[in-house]
Symmetry: C2
Subunit: 165 residues, 2 copies
Amino acid sequence: MDEAQTLDFQELKRYSMFGGITPETFEALRPFIHLQDFNTGDHVMEEGAVNDRVFFIVSGSVEVLKHLEGRDPGDCRRITVMGTGETFGEMELIDVQPCAATVRAIEPTRTLTLSNHDLYRVSKSDLKTYTLLILNLARELSRRIRTMDGMISGERPSSQIDISD
Amino acid sequence: MDEAQTLDFQELKRYSMFGGITPETFEALRPFIHLQDFNTGDHVMEEGAVNDRVFFIVSGSVEVLKHLEGRDPGDCRRITVMGTGETFGEMELIDVQPCAATVRAIEPTRTLTLSNHDLYRVSKSDLKTYTLLILNLARELSRRIRTMDGMISGERPSSQIDISD
């Protein structure tokens, strides 16, 4: 895992988590962002294991798999496929818990990563940048909830729904 | 809508958004937090209208209603009921968009509110407190997504699911 020395400002800006960052902020963040490459079939995350970082897909693609309850450990269902420009593992930056799904590379895949430990270091060295990243992350989660709300409330009987939590 | 002069520190701490605040932070936040009372039948939020604030239910309860597509405007379905200690409208603090549902008081209901404009003022006067509130909010959204992920991925065929966004 190398520091992403060749990382380009414009490249990073396309990920919603880096919306609004300045070239100066970018330089401050650069030491904390790493390249991580995966071969076809490599597991990036394992369902039930702890993940501590966010992944930004630079090239390639991954599949998201979920174990089917009551089946053999290897018996999984593909939930979705993600490719260039997409992000996964954001929630682990703020809320370390066992992964809800397995993520596996389905072709050679290059990612940029930022760990929650390094994000913590950013919070200590540059609170303004840290706040911007967390706000961007919260907005992304909010967008996701609006999408999921629509999916759930449009199609479920009310007894199964609880958006109050 | 009055400033919540009688607001108690312990009372505020029970809402996840205020987790980790100190008595000093509490005093700094107090001028921005208001009491808002609703009578039975009052609409707190209107589906499709813009809401600009979070509500913390102090007492009473509300129902969350969603309009049924293709039906008359008043034809709604109850999604859930929320009561004392629960929170709604958090996402509007960071992502102002039309409300996804109508919220109506089903008994006399007292809430505490914080508007996104006032939260912005907190960001200017006390970045550390602002960051803590946004981080708490992001964690709450993250928890909600984990719950919804379980609901969706456990019961839907893969063609309908996209958790990538």
